[in-house]
């Protein structure tokens, strides 16, 4: 569970800042739901996601599970070490760009997020489980071909992998990491249809720990909450309302507007984004 206490403020160098507020004092992202931060390009979706996923500093309050991260000056800030622990034990990330480390091998890129990850054994396992997914045969073949390449080049630098292969690697990295909350920043922005189908399906399965990576992820057993209180938070632009209905069980009662005030070079610009929720 994540609780966002408004207002939230992010300051940039040069005095620019962005302030988030809502009609409600706090918004809750409850367990076992799929949340979308929906808004226009450049409105501040990524910044908000970075704030609540603790990837950037801010002023305001965000509560993760039982930990309150209050970053107002008059309240207690969590130490960097505690924030690292939360990222380590609870969070996982999929970025718009894969952000794979090129100076490590493919195997090492996965191993660093989960020390118990056994590349050969676990990648074979994932490969086999693809057969059981509810995707088309061509999509399965596509995935298995990409996976085969990753397996084959496990000791190489990911430098020469294609964008899709890097995205797949980035997704596998996020899914095998012990976590109960996934933050995904426009994960489909540079992704072909086959990969999008797979990732979308797996993220839904993640809410119930039924994704093909759950066994690997939960092997660490860091926190029993991982298995139950899962959340997926995604920054994403829906271009058509039909896209929303295509995703799945849209909870139409949960639809909040977050007001955004951007102060850029002294000029103020008001915008908003929507927070919508899906259940599995």
């Amino acid at each position: 569970m994540i609780e966002i206490h408004f207002p939230l403020e992010k300051k940039f160098q040069g005095g620019d800042k962005i302030i988030y507020s809502a009609d409600q004092k706090a918004l809750k992202l409850n367990s076992n739901y799929f949340y979308y931060f929906q808004g226009k390009n450049g409105v501040g979706k990524t910044t908000l996601l970075n704030i609540i996923s603790l990837l950037t500093d801010f002023e305001g309050g965000v509560k993760i599970e039982d930990n309150t991260l209050c970053l107002n000056k008059d309240k207690n800030d969590k130490s960097n070490h505690e924030k690292s622990n939360i990222r380590k034990n609870h969070f996982s990330y999929v970025f718009q760009d894969p952000h794979i480390i090129n100076i490590y091998t493919i195997r090492e890129n996965l191993k660093i997020v989960n020390p118990l990850f056994d590349f050969d054994k676990d990648m074979s396992l994932i490969f086999k489980k693809i057969d059981n997914l509810k995707i088309t045969a061509s999509e399965k073949l596509y995935l298995q071909t990409k996976l085969t390449k990753l397996i084959h080049e496990k000791n190489n630098s990911p430098f020469y992998l294609s964008g899709g292969e890097k995205q797949l690697l980035s997704f596998i990295r996020a899914m095998i990491k012990p976590s109960n909350i996934i933050f995904a920043d426009e994960p489909w922005a540079a992704m072909d249809k086959h990969l999008k189908e797979f990732i979308e399906q797996e993220l839904y399965q993640y809410l119930d720990n039924k994704d093909i990576f759950s066994g690997i992820r939960n092997r660490n057993d860091i926190n029993h909450l991982h298995k139950k209180n899962t959340v997926v938070a995604i920054a994403h632009i829906f271009h058509h309302s039909t896209e929303i209905s295509a995703i799945g069980n849209h909870d139409k009662n949960y639809n909040y507007k977050i007001h955004i005030k951007k102060i850029n070079s002294g000029k103020s610009d008001d915008n908003s984004l929507e927070l919508i929720r899906f259940s599995n």
Partner: protein, 561 residues
């Protein structure tokens, strides 16, 4: 606590490159720079160690602290007053030397000869300086101390006998001494512990034989018949003379003991009459006075032995079996110098030739009388042990020069220079350490600026996936510390060896210098290593703190590419 993720640690050293090779070049260059820098420090310490050894060797030898001061044209009272003042302050002490020493002597061994050697004569006053010698024993044994290299040159073994004379005066050999090597290398090549070459000193050589006939044989056949040795020719038993072969004109019985003395002391009983029978006849004496010496008439003796093959056949001289230890004594001052012989070359050859019989006799003794020490204070020896004090040494040097005292200022200057070089070298090495350190810090900073920015993305991703700052610090600090340690170790071996050999030092010296430097409590290499390690830890921590420990992880991730 120091546990690090092995993959991250490995990639700190060997970054994977696009062509799938690991980047070994960067760590090797970094380590090499540290190794070369360390070896440069080592090279400077070699130079210091070389100075130190030379100074230690010099100062460890007390004799190197002895300086001969010649007070020729100087106000000796003034000099002595100055030296006394310095002695009162315990800066130095001085001894008064023998007249005319050091002096040049010639040494003749069985197989070698050297015309001029500067010989020192040290009185027991020097016992406080030359502490490793037993003055009393060596004075009794009449020993000449010689430089081992000189011994080799003259083919002299320890305990060999040599003949000595004052050089360049056309004189005869006046002294025989047993040789011992000078154990510590010193500028002094030759010395003895007494005034053996004074005009009042005398030396007597005793050729010992195991029985009486052998002694008579040497006396008659060799000395009298072959060499026409001047009389009186004295002979004796054990340590004392009992008889003399002499002509009527040179009877000297004052130093010969009465025959009755030998009965009391050695149980040697003389007959009341004696007979020495040669092949050619007998030397017979009707009566012997036991209270006087046995005097053999030279003229009669010569007649008996002058014909060919006239050897001693029998003798009736003792009542009992006489035992061993009969000797003939040659007096270096009175008889061995063949005063009637004009031609010096023949004389010296004869002296040398007779002397060589010491090898065919059963034993030999040298008795020197050198108690007539005449010490005149024209010559002073200064003993100075504060050579490490450059200022004091310079002050004494200047003062004695000003007082017109002649002495070995070159030697004195060289030790001052050596000490100055040592201090200058220490200063140089400190500057070198500092310069090296600054260069290293600049290099480290450039490396950080270039590499850390390259690694912002990696660090950002690691932080994003839960690695704490501490985990990342550990990898970087430990990694750089390992680089530095490996660099330091390689700097000691083989870089120091290579650079040392290139500079002309041998491997044994390099090893010794390195070991000495590392083991000594304060040394530049360890100091440099520690400072390097400390500065590395500080530089890494400060730069990480400055560049990486930022709460905006997303910015770090954005550094990709």
């Amino acid at each position: 606590m120091l546990k690090v993720q092995p993959d991250i640690f490995k990639r700190f050293f060997f970054r994977k490159q696009a062509d799938n090779t690991s980047d070994k070049f960067l760590p090797i260059i970094f380590i090499t720079i540290i190794a070369v820098s360390t070896s440069i420090i080592s090279l400077s310490t070699f130079e210091l160690y070389d100075y130190k050894i030379r100074i230690d060797q010099f100062l460890s030898n007390e004799w190197n602290k002895i300086y001969d001061l010649y007070l020729g044209d100087t106000n000796r009272q003034d000099v002595e007053k100055y030296l006394e003042t310095m002695q009162a302050r315990q800066y130095l002490d001085f001894k008064i030397g023998f007249r005319e020493y050091p002096k040049m002597i010639s040494i003749k061994s069985k197989e070698g000869y050297i015309e001029n050697v500067l010989a020192y004569a040290f009185s027991p006053d020097f016992e406080t300086i030359i502490t490793n010698l037993d003055f009393e024993q060596y004075q009794q044994d009449d020993v000449l101390f010689l430089d081992p290299a000189l011994m080799n040159k003259l083919h002299i073994a320890e305990n060999d006998l040599v003949l000595i004379k004052v050089a360049n005066l056309g004189g005869r050999y006046t002294q025989a001494l047993r040789v011992k090597p000078i154990e510590n290398p010193t500028r002094i090549k030759c010395f003895f512990l007494g005034n053996y070459l004074d005009y009042a000193s005398n030396c007597k050589i005793r050729f010992y034989y195991d029985n009486f006939p052998k002694m008579v044989d040497f006396l008659s056949q060799t000395l009298v018949k072959e060499y026409n040795f001047p009389t009186p020719l004295n002979f004796g038993y054990h340590d004392n003379l009992f008889g003399s072969l002499c002509s009527n004109t040179d009877i000297r019985s004052d130093f010969v003991l009465p025959l009755s003395y030998f009965k009391d002391h050695y149980g040697l009983e003389f007959k009341s009459q004696f007979e020495l029978t040669f092949e050619n006849g007998s030397l017979y004496n009707q009566n012997i006075d036991m209270d006087s010496a046995l005097l053999l008439d030279y003229e009669k003796f010569l007649k008996l032995i002058e014909q060919k093959g006239s050897k001693l056949k029998s003798y009736q001289l003792f009542n009992n079996s006489p035992g061993q230890k009969f000797f003939v004594e040659l007096d270096m001052l009175n008889t061995f110098n063949f005063q009637k012989m004009r031609r010096l070359e023949t004389l010296l050859a004869r002296q040398e030739s007779i002397f060589q019989y010491y090898r065919s006799c059963d034993s030999l003794a040298i008795i020197s009388i050198n108690d007539a020490f005449k010490r005149e204070n024209t010559y002073l020896y200064m003993h100075y042990s504060k050579l490490d004090s450059i200022e004091l040494s310079k002050d004494i040097l200047d003062t004695l020069n000003y007082k017109n005292v002649r002495w070995d200022t070159g030697k004195w200057n060289s030790i001052i220079n050596l000490n100055e070089s040592l201090k200058r070298g220490q200063k140089h090495i400190m500057v070198l350490v500092l310069v090296n350190l600054i260069i290293f810090l600049f290099f480290l900073s450039i490396k950080f600026l270039l590499r850390l920015k390259l690694e912002f993305h990696t660090i950002g991703v690691l932080k994003c996936f839960g690695y704490a700052d501490g985990d990342i610090y550990k990898v970087y600090v430990l990694g750089y510390v390992l680089h530095v340690i490996i660099g330091l170790l390689l700097g000691l071996f083989p870089f120091s060896h290579i650079i040392g050999v290139m500079a002309g030092y041998d491997i044994a010296f390099i090893n010794e210098a390195l070991l000495n430097t590392i083991l000594s409590p304060v040394n530049f290499i360890t100091g440099y290593g520690l400072v390097l390690l400390l500065s590395t830890i500080l530089a890494v921590s400060i730069n990480l703190n400055r560049l990486v420990k930022r709460s905006n992880i997303y910015e770090l991730i954005k550094y990709e590419g």
